[in-house]
Symmetry: C2
Subunit: 189 residues, 2 copies
């Protein structure tokens, strides 16, 4: 049996949103990419926003899972961080689509107005919880004196996610270089 319809729609939507952004794609376009009728998209996702929400959450899930997968295997925090960076870069290289989706829509998700969309607010919080996990990792590493204890975790986490993430649109910057730079930067001096 082939993939389930809902899954096909989600994957097509992921590709479409990544390439053209939420407002740049029509539901019909997504439907035809998924090989289904437009109305069946609305059957599974009553609003276009719902479809986007599902795509966003699944994307962050996948990113977070991949990035923290190998972290638990290490006991030293500096090595956890090293693993995280390596997985992150690996993800950017191999899952360009998801990264483009995230980079392209990040602004609109993070800028969503508090009193505006409840649904967008949830997406913003999903992203923040992802960054929050990186912050916690850095905090713990600082507590254990494995990274310089007066590096501000929040800002460093931002630097990591933003600079690695946007690599996906800079084919000429080397992911390994970024990794080396960040690592050397974290080491105490």
């Amino acid at each position: 049996m082939g993939k389930k319809t809902k899954e096909k729609i989600l994957e097509a939507a992921k590709r479409a949103f990544a390439k053209k952004g939420f407002n740049g794609v029509s539901v019909e376009e997504i439907a035809s990419m998924a090989g289904v009728n437009k109305a069946v998209v609305f059957y599974y996702f009553p609003k276009k926003e719902d479809l986007f929400a599902a795509v966003w959450e699944s994307s962050i899930d996948e990113l977070e899972e991949h990035i923290f997968k190998d972290v638990e295997g290490e006991s030293l925090y500096i090595r956890k961080i090293k693993k995280l960076l390596r997985s992150y870069i690996d993800f950017v290289r191999n899952r360009k689509e998801i990264m483009k989706l995230i980079e392209r829509e990040k602004a609109s998700v993070l800028d969503s107005d508090e009193e505006n969309d409840k649904i967008r607010l949830k997406l913003k919080n999903r992203y923040r919880s992802f960054v929050g996990r990186i912050i916690s990792l850095l905090n713990e590493a600082k507590r254990r004196k494995e990274v310089d204890s007066d590096l501000p975790s929040k800002e460093v986490a931002g630097i990591i996610t933003d600079s690695i993430g946007s690599m996906v649109f800079h084919p000429d910057v080397s992911p390994e270089m970024i990794e080396k730079v960040v690592l050397r930067f974290l080491g105490r001096r």
Copy 2:
């Protein structure tokens, strides 16, 4: 005499694109924000794309001008860089609108397909030339041994622009912290 019509349209478009993105705003919306008839927008900018191009180029112009304004006043390269960082952060704080515009549309501009739009390609190159100037500054500083000579300029320039730029959507990270972090990072050890 009030502002000229074309100028009013450009400013309204800048605000609109910053808040909702290119595909999230209609020309009519922009026109009404500018207090002019929709057709007069097309009178000055035959296509919506033309309007966006004008907004983008003026935004990068403004950013670049502001960031490099005080750089020439310094002779030491490390101080030039310090000035640049400070101006950059200053810009993010005081010109949120432009930064949101840039952050929101950066993905779509940088991802523009080579054989696709000639006009988008121009915008991509405009952005690249801006980053190129930062790279040159870093290179020169390295040549003069004022910053660690084996820091890869391209990657560091990316880290600077991406992390400072996206601060505009993270009201809880401190610009000054980023500045301190980047500066300490550039210092030779």
